[in-house]
Symmetry: C2
Subunit: 232 residues, 2 copies
């Protein structure tokens, strides 16, 4: 990966977006590159947090295992997303495990490097706070959903959010361009894979979705899904 490519990636990251070229350049130069194969993890929940990561290409699923062995999917992450930084700043172990659902390339900064960058470029700290604030808002929204809405609405809202983050327009509708299993959706919405399967089957029968059996989901009638996610 040459320097121009790195700068392009750094620039796309929300943490660096809009900052002066000098900052981007320094960030790009101090980063290392790491490739993670599909199915491998970037680090594991409980590891000591020593590095900041930004996704360059690919996609990660952020998993959290509970003390009693259950698993929940916190979010999917794609190009530009920041991974691990919250734990590094807080000096606590990584609270979750990012697993590559496709081959993924990341830029990596050590704790010290990133600290130096931030001290040299103060707007970075503001950006970082902004991003963390966004995570807080997202989590509050999901908490509210899981606490008050019934399963069908939560599944609809979750699919729409993923489509909004990563969806691609095709002739048939909006496609989610990576394997998103029923189990994944169940672990994101706090339900079981059976309920997700039943619900999606219904929507496929109604022509709202396409994608029985593991192919990538396609949302044919997004507006209908919005209605379901907002229905009383």
């Amino acid at each position: 990966m040459d320097k121009t490519a790195r700068i392009a990636i750094v620039e796309r990251a929300k943490l660096f977006a809009g900052l002066p070229l000098e900052t981007l350049s320094e960030a790009a130069e101090t980063a290392q590159v790491r490739v993670v194969d599909k199915g491998d993890v970037v680090f594991r929940q409980g590891d000591e947090a020593g590095h900041h990561f930004i996704v360059a290409w690919g996609r990660l699923r952020l998993d959290q295992t509970t003390p009693d062995g259950k698993n929940i999917v916190l979010r999917f992450m794609g190009p530009g997303d920041l991974v691990g930084s919250v734990a590094v700043w807080r000096k606590v172990p990584y609270p979750a495990t990012p697993l590559a659902v496709e081959e993924t390339r990341l830029l990596v900064w050590s704790e010290v490097r990133m600290m130096e960058l931030m001290q040299a470029h103060p707007p970075l700290a503001m950006k970082a706070m902004n991003m963390m604030g966004g995570r807080i808002e997202e989590l509050q929204e999901r908490l509210q959903q899981v606490a008050t809405q019934q399963v069908e609405r939560r599944i609809a809202a979750t699919i729409l959010k993923i489509a909004g983050q990563s969806g691609r327009k095709t002739e048939a509708g909006v496609e989610i361009p990576f394997a998103l299993s029923r189990q994944d959706l169940a672990e994101m919405t706090g339900t079981t894979l059976h309920t997700v399967s039943r619900t999606l089957s219904g929507w496929i029968d109604e022509g709202i979705l396409e994608g029985r059996r593991s192919s990538h989901l396609v949302i044919c009638r997004p507006h209908r899904l919005v209605e379901i996610s907002e229905q009383a």
Copy 2:
């Protein structure tokens, strides 16, 4: 409130804890004071976010209203807690309404004042990120609870957390020193007031709790409550 008192309050706030006296002093000098009567709000969800607040005395309940009119309690806040800052930094409207459950006194900084403080005292930004990270962790934990655990465990865990934050030891056990209604607990755990009432009644019968009918809750057998919150 004289300057020494203000400094004491500022020092107790997690945002300023451990910082040099010079920083504390400047923070204390630039703060204004605001008193909010029981039942009144500090600001309202949706208001433009222009001020940072720190609780000096008293207690706030942070409420969020959903588009379809349901209410959830995000958290209770007491002395030292920071209110509203996430929204100010993100330049978005306040996402929730802090309501005083008892008479509460706050220190207030305008957006500009706090920005100046942060620029003059860089460690403040680090502290702020740390605090936001703590909120993220807390929210992830609650999300995991609501998504995977059954109601009884969630109620037990919620009571224990509140007791840990605000509880006071008495002869009878650990007392929660403010009015915490069944409705509040329901809106924190994502259930109904009926289910909370039934559950607490059971625990009171078993001698785990005291506090039928609105008096302050007292946890007589905290260890038993921990067991319930961890039970498979």
